[in-house]
């Protein structure tokens, strides 16, 4: 696992280039998918093609073997990397080849085929310009689509000038490209074997799709007489027509291009003549096309992933990189930290867990905070945060630090949670901490902030001493509410205001404001004592504990919902639990009832205003200028716009942030290891809120974590938007 020093070093060295590249791709994605009117429909179609293909995979592979052989090629199904490499080596050896030219292929990285061939004395040349930079520099890819994204133009120029000593030093991107193309062009012309990957392979015709921009994959196939394609078994789809949604989605989702320059649809062996470029006598049409084709399909753990109910979705991945580009943490550190042996970014965890094992996946899995910004970006709708949660849970079960078990009372994991680290247990059992904190406040706050305490917390729990700790309130929201005597005559609606952990113990004022706003709009409110949602243990991969919380919440809220009460939630991450995760944690009926009847507080206010309630009963904004940062999970659910609409309707002048995440993400920003990454992510938000049009605005944010992060980043006080509306 990258430690704090390694992360700090990557932030300084590779961070700037990775940020510029990924954020450019991410902006391009938003713009490009907005131009595609059928976007959601195509995503659903792509998803269902992949579900069907993985379900029927053995049958499709059989069909593909027949079509490939009918076409005159060979299909080899390799069990693992060594098996695949042995086969490729034998093909290269039979051809008596001294050079293999390659186009970009993550699967070939996965099996380390370059090393295997090099050991046989074969010259293996990467022809994708980014891959070639890495081959020259002897570095690993930092991104699944743009492998050298961590390198700036200047650093590539330095590399080439030092290695190749050109007559005139290379400087511009054009000069570097021309130099690489000319150098590689010579090497391609003389090569015997061309090796490609495949983005998709259709079982009906044996056609492979290669999605590229440089033209090197085309040359790799056209200029050689032996074509070896290396692909994971999951790349097989039923028919040529099934390629359609993927071709429309893959470039837009990844690099933000509507389509890449070339989508090669090859049904090998291709009919293009085999050429010797020295031949100045024979016209192209008189040359033969005697070409061999070998499709090497690789299992290497994939068939076991197919049998794994939690990891199976990983096989739907089309390696577009949307999850990397939309990830606030990835944008800062890149794939050298947020990646395993081969695969990086959010979905990298699923791939590495299935292919390499939990040890490798566990090395970078904690960089996923579950912010969920990748979920809507994924063109095949993979629940990437859930895969990360499951892998974290499995890693916890591998834990070996049982010696801490009873060190901190109350933090003992449920028997089924394995042995998460003490830090994970502390954050996972935050409900216990918060209850104790409120019961003993302000002494608890005072004790916690003492220097000795912070040193101990950093040493034992890895809680960074630079972070301010939450201030527990002596009187919880539930206690405050119980002491009130307010009746709403002829209520418009009846609701349960869910006293989430933070609103109940820390951000109590926003809870009071929510109650007052709802009552002002003629809503009858109750605030019963309810268990915390399970978000905290879920985020630590303590699934069994999270399930226990969810069951208790469903038991308490179920009867209220049955009686016709809506559930109103202040904390967006808990609302997202009800909407996105509870169907995996409690029985379907309970999950459906809660999800259908729960609302984020400003979403609920929006609904009231839409249905006849009047803004006259709320505090008027009168043109007050506010800067609003929505919450990552709230935005994934499409609920940012409701807050903005309500504030504007009440007369506020609203400016919104457009960063993917604030960087705090629950416990993440408190952890010593990740403090610097968290602050680097937050810096982008700080810059936005310190820009000319924002610096005089009052700051509001929906999530507890966002408020904590903004408190640390800015000098201005922060509030939840509902506090702006609370009547005097």
């Amino acid at each position: 696992m990258s430690d704090a020093d390694e992360l700090r070093s990557l932030l300084a060295t590779e961070g700037p280039a990775v940020s510029a590249g990924t954020q450019g791709f991410n902006r391009g994605r938003y713009e490009s998918v907005a131009r595609l009117s059928e976007y959601e429909g195509l995503k659903a179609e792509a998803r269902s093609i992949k579900e069907d293909a993985i379900e029927r995979l053995p049958e499709l592979i059989d069909q593909l073997r027949e079509t490939v052989e009918d076409n005159g090629g060979t299909l080899y199904l390799a069990d693992d990397a060594a098996d695949a490499n042995d086969y490729v080596r034998s093909v290269v050896d039979d051809r008596d080849a001294d050079r293999v030219v390659k186009s970009k292929s993550m699967t070939s990285e996965e099996i380390d085929v370059n090393e295997a061939l090099a050991a046989d004395g074969v010259d293996v040349v990467e022809t994708d310009l980014g891959e070639w930079v890495l081959q020259v520099a002897d570095e690993a890819p930092s991104h699944i689509v743009a492998p050298a994204i961590h390198r700036s133009r200047e650093s590539i120029a330095d590399l080439f000038n030092a290695r190749f000593e050109p007559d005139e030093p290379l400087e511009s991107a054009e000069e570097l490209t021309r130099f690489a193309r000319d150098h590689l062009g010579e090497l391609i012309a003389d090569a015997q074997v061309g090796m490609t990957g495949a983005n998709f392979v259709t079982a009906d015709t044996g056609t492979m799709a290669l999605v590229t921009s440089e033209g090197n994959a085309r040359k790799t196939v056209a200029a050689t007489d032996t074509h070896v394609a290396v692909a994971g078994v999951e790349k097989v789809i039923p028919t040529v027509e099934d390629l359609h949604p993927f071709v429309e989605l893959i470039g837009r989702s990844g690099t933000g291009q509507d389509i890449t320059s070339y989508v090669s649809l090859l049904t090998p062996p291709v009919e293009t003549p085999v050429v010797d470029f020295a031949d100045d006598e024979t016209p192209l049409s008189e040359l033969g096309a005697d070409r061999e084709f070998h499709l090497v399909l690789i299992d290497n753990g994939r068939m076991a992933m197919r049998d794994d109910d939690e990891l199976r979705e990983t096989l739907y991945c089309i390696r577009c990189s949307a999850c990397s580009n939309s990830c606030a943490n990835f944008q800062q550190v890149g794939g050298h930290a947020f990646g395993g042996e081969t695969y990086s970014g959010g979905i990298g965890t699923g791939w590495e867990a299935g292919i390499e094992g939990l040890d490798v996946a566990g090395e970078f899995n904690d960089l996923c905070t579950g912010c969920s910004r990748c979920v809507n970006a994924c063109p095949v709708g993979i629940d990437i945060p859930w895969i990360n949660t499951v892998v974290r849970d499995r890693v916890n079960h591998q834990g070996e630090d049982g010696g801490f078990d009873f060190l901190v009372d109350g933090l003992t994991p449920e028997a089924d949670d394995g042995s998460p680290s003490l830090q994970k247990r502390f954050f996972g059992h935050f409900e216990t901490v918060a209850k104790l904190g409120s019961a003993t406040a302000p002494v608890s706050n005072w004790l916690a902030e003492r220097r000795g305490s912070r040193v101990a917390m950093q040493r034992l729990l890895g809680i960074d001493a630079r972070r301010e700790l939450p201030q527990f309130q002596r009187e919880t929201l539930v206690e405050w509410f119980a002491d009130r005597d307010v009746t709403v005559a002829n209520p418009r609606r009846e609701v349960v205001l869910y006293p989430d952990l933070y609103t109940n113990h820390v951000q109590v004022e926003r809870g009071k404001a929510a109650v007052r706003v709802l009552e002002a709009l003629d809503v009858d409110v109750v605030v019963p004592a309810v268990a915390s949602s399970g978000r905290a243990p879920l985020s630590q991969g303590m699934l069994s504990t999270a399930r226990g919380h969810a069951e208790r919440v469903a038991e308490t809220l179920g009867p209220h919902v049955d009686r016709g009460r809506d559930v109103v939630v202040v904390e967006p991450s808990d609302h997202a639990m009800f909407q996105r995760e509870y169907d995996r944690l409690v029985d379907a009926d309970a999950a459906d009832a809660l999800s259908a009847n729960s609302y984020e507080v400003m979403e609920f206010v929006y609904g009231l205003l839409e249905n006849g309630a009047s803004t006259d009963d709320l505090r008027a904004g009168a043109g007050d200028r506010v800067a609003y940062h929505s919450h990552c999970q709230q935005r994934t659910l499409g609920l940012e716009s409701h807050t903005v609409a309500v504030l504007e309707r009440c007369g506020f002048d609203v400016l919104t942030s457009d960063v993917e995440c604030c960087g705090m993400a629950g416990s993440f920003g408190y952890k010593e290891t990740y403090y610097d990454v968290s602050v680097a992510v937050g810096d982008e938000l700080r810059e936005q809120f310190r820009a000319d049009d924002a610096r005089d605005r009052a700051v509001v944010a929906s999530g507890t974590s966002c408020l904590e992060q903004l408190d640390d980043l800015l000098d201005r006080p922060t509030r939840h938007p509902v506090q702006l509306l609370s009547p005097p």
């Binding site: 991107a173 690489a180 921009s213 440089e214 071709v247 649809l265 049904t267 090998p268 293009t272």
Partner: protein, 171 residues
């Protein structure tokens, strides 16, 4: 009224900075001349209602001639209007090579073969590939790379693309 497939194609190509011109079979040679940078090579325009005879294009070149050519003229099986794409078939005559190992690719397509979008394109690919196990490249604009720290047009493939659409005749 929605734009004709040609207009949609020309508009998409324009945003890719790819010049696109419509001509008749009779005026084809003259139209093409303006898009050639010498030396120019080509493959016979099979399947397209136009011919390279009477042009300055060396048809069916040797590999060595191809390697030194600036411009390559090829037919396109069809075009995809929404995206500004042309489909370059892989043929025994060397269409793939002539479109790829040059700095400027001129693609010639019949107006009747300008399809509206990707769905129609893949219906056609499905029929063709199942019938004849053929191959084609959906080519959209020039080759490009961002791997050297900025977007550069002209990576391994052509740095320039031109598209000539041949009108249907009334005969």
């Amino acid at each position: 009224m929605s734009a004709s497939p040609y207009d949609a194609l020309a508009s998409a190509l324009s945003s890719l900075d790819v010049p696109c011109e419509r001509t008749t079979p009779a005026a084809f040679a003259e139209t093409l001349a303006a898009h050639l940078r010498e030396p120019a090579v080509g493959v016979a325009l099979d399947g397209v209602n136009a011919s390279l005879s009477g042009t300055d294009v060396a048809v069916d070149p040797t590999p060595a001639t191809l390697r030194t050519a600036e411009t390559g003229v090829t037919p396109a099986s069809f075009a995809i209007a929404d995206y500004g794409s042309v489909v370059v078939p892989s043929t025994p005559s060397g269409t793939e090579l002539v479109s790829l190992f040059v700095d400027r690719h001129v693609a010639v397509v019949d107006e009747a073969d300008v399809l509206p979008g990707m769905e129609a394109a893949f219906d056609r690919f499905g029929e063709e590939f199942r019938a004849s196990a053929s191959s084609g490249i959906v080519a959209t604009g020039p080759s490009a790379t961002a791997d050297m720290g900025a977007l550069v047009r002209g990576a391994h493939g052509p740095s320039e693309v031109r598209v000539i659409v041949v009108e249907e005749t009334d005969e």
